[in-house]
């Protein structure tokens, strides 16, 4: 069953009175529990695709569905509820620089009005999972790049979203820290979260046991390669769904 679906999506941007095609007729379907890799050089349209899924941009044509709901048919008041089900991490972390790791991680819970003690408990739990000190009271801007990215990951996961979108999460990190972040992403996917990771780094492909590799170039989807791991995941889901039906 698809959790993310793009159907014939087209998006252009106007730059200096010239229209630049960011995505041109892209159709993709990603199943629940997958680890999909979105590859391509800079400017291929990877970030645009993630922004469209997050409803930060609107497509010119086509539709984008998250769990069968058309993202761009949602009203402005419903969009935040969609985003609460999509964890997101970025190359530039997008953290509140003056806030502590715990404050940053607790932000998605604050948004939904969770109480102080629960915010603290859940933020600490996820920070520990990311091997970060939950008692750290320093502003995140004083942390290393790897630590900041782990805080960003923790923030994306604190609400247990079914989908995690990662846009070049290792782009600013050295190889050791990159591997650490990728290990976390693999672990997250193994818990059942669907991961869509956009990267231009070919090493990621060899390091991460992905289920699908999407190649974008110049706004076109040039390949949608399914790996043997997808079959295994699909079988697992089929068994789970059958068991649920029997039960």
């Amino acid at each position: 069953m698809s959790i993310l679906e793009l159907i014939d999506v087209r998006k252009t941007f106007i730059a200096h009175t010239r229209a630049q095609v960011a995505l041109d007729g892209v159709s993709v379907s990603i199943e629940r529990g997958e680890f999909a890799l979105l590859m391509g050089p800079s400017g291929a349209g990877k970030s645009t695709m993630l922004k469209l899924i997050l409803a930060l941009e609107r497509p010119d044509e086509g539709s984008i569905k998250v769990a069968d709901r058309d993202v761009h048919r949602l009203t402005a008041d419903s969009v935040p509820f969609l985003r609460r089900n999509l964890g997101a991490v970025f190359q530039d972390f997008r953290l509140l620089p003056e806030a502590t790791p715990e404050e940053n991680v607790g932000l998605p819970l604050r948004v939904v009005g969770v109480g102080n003690s629960e915010v603290r408990a859940r933020a600490r739990e996820v920070l520990l999972r990311m091997h970060l000190d939950p008692d750290l009271k320093r502003p995140v801007k004083t942390l290393s790049g790897g630590e900041q990215q782990r805080v960003a990951l923790a923030r994306a996961l604190v609400t247990d979203p079914p989908v995690l979108l990662a846009d070049e999460p290792t782009g600013n990190l050295d190889p050791d820290l990159s591997r650490d972040i990728l290990d976390h992403l693999v672990e997250i996917q193994s818990r059942g979260t669907t991961v869509l990771l956009a990267t231009h780094d070919p090493i990621v492909r060899s390091y991460v046991p992905v289920t699908r590799i999407l190649h974008l170039d110049n706004g076109h989807l040039i390949s949608d390669e399914v790996t043997p791991r997808l079959r295994a995941i699909s079988d697992q889901h089929d068994v789970a769904e059958s068991s649920a039906e029997v039960a």
């Binding site: 997050l54 930060l56 402005a76 008041d77 969009v79 935040p80 509820f81 969609l82 985003r83 609460r84 997101a88 997008r94 953290l95 509140l96 932000l107 998605p108 604050r110 948004v111 939904v112 009005g113 969770v114 109480g115 102080n116 923030r155």
Partner: protein
């Protein structure tokens, strides 16, 4: 409870946001304070001028003094007859006891000068109020007719100077209203421009709040709270300055104008009026901030 927790969090973020740009906030609050100070000064002049005029009794166009032996039922019957006239909006029967009470109230701390004055020494009277449409000719004619009534001792009408005084008060009212509108516009513009700057300075924070699923209200609320705080602080600062100036000047004014102030001293805003002024400041700040965030914070 959830809403209250969210409000608490958003309020803290609003205050934290203000602390990020103290200079801009200080300038905004001071500019708002100056604007509200102008309005406050005009309002204070107005309420005191109105108070003095009321004290003089010149707001009553016609007063009918009845003779000493008049029976109360006769006086009340005349009151009803006067009130029945189409040009008359209200006719109020004033018993000597009420007249004495008013005199004591009007003299305030100097009421002791009335010690020894007995109720019987004051006449029974009828205060007659006419509509705005009635002219001086009607008042003169009415006074003439009333003088012929047996139980009437004297009829007093306000003169041309009182009319001019009322016109002066009306002009002051117009100035206060015009200033109010001008101040409202200025405060909204100040709040709008500072909140616009704040949104620009904190655009990455806005982006993050959108990303984690913040609703339109959640993302915009800290800025609106910022606007409200600016308005309240501006109003509070203006009122403090005005209070300081008033309490420094009031004794001199009371001494200098003692002849005019026989019916009561000058007064500062009541607590109710101060709360109203602060709320007015907050409202202007909120309006400015709402306009700014509606334009510059997208979801």
């Amino acid at each position: 409870m959830r809403g209250l927790r969210t409000f608490g969090y958003v309020f803290v973020r609003g205050v934290a946001g203000m602390r990020q740009s103290p200079l801009v906030q200080t300038v905004a609050v001071l500019t708002m304070a100056v604007c509200i100070l102008l309005l406050g000064t005009a309002s204070l002049l107005l309420i005191n001028a109105q108070g003095i005029v009321e004290g003089w009794g010149v707001d009553v166009p016609l007063t009918v003094y009845l003779n000493e032996e008049v029976a109360e039922e006769d006086a009340r019957a005349l009151t009803e007859r006067i009130e029945g006239l189409p040009e008359v909006t209200q006719a109020e029967f004033i018993a000597p006891e009420v007249a004495l009470e008013r005199l004591q109230e009007g003299l305030g701390s100097s009421a002791s000068v009335l010690d020894g004055v007995e109720v019987q020494m004051l006449p029974t009277s009828i205060e007659v109020y006419t509509g705005a449409a009635s002219d001086d000719e009607f008042l003169v004619a009415l006074a003439g007719r009333l003088r012929d009534v047996k139980i009437v001792e004297e009829v007093a009408t306000v003169g041309a100077w009182a009319k001019a005084l009322h016109e002066g008060i009306d002009a002051l009212k117009s100035v206060a209203i015009a200033l109010g509108l001008l101040v409202a516009f200025a405060c909204v513009a100040i709040s709008w421009s500072t909140i616009r700057l704040a949104v620009f300075a904190r655009r990455s924070e806005v982006e993050i709040l959108r990303l984690v699923g913040g609703t339109r209200r959640f993302v915009r609320a800290p800025f609106v709270i910022e606007g409200a705080i600016q308005g309240v602080l501006g109003a509070a600062f203006a009122i403090t300055l005005l209070a300081f100036a008033f309490h420094s000047l009031a004794p001199h004014l009371e001494r200098g104008l003692s002849l005019f102030l026989v019916a009561g001293a000058v007064r500062f805003f009541s607590m109710h009026e101060i709360i109203l002024a602060m709320s007015f400041g907050a409202l202007l700040g909120v309006i400015g901030a709402r306009i700014a965030v509606a334009r510059y914070v997208e979801i």
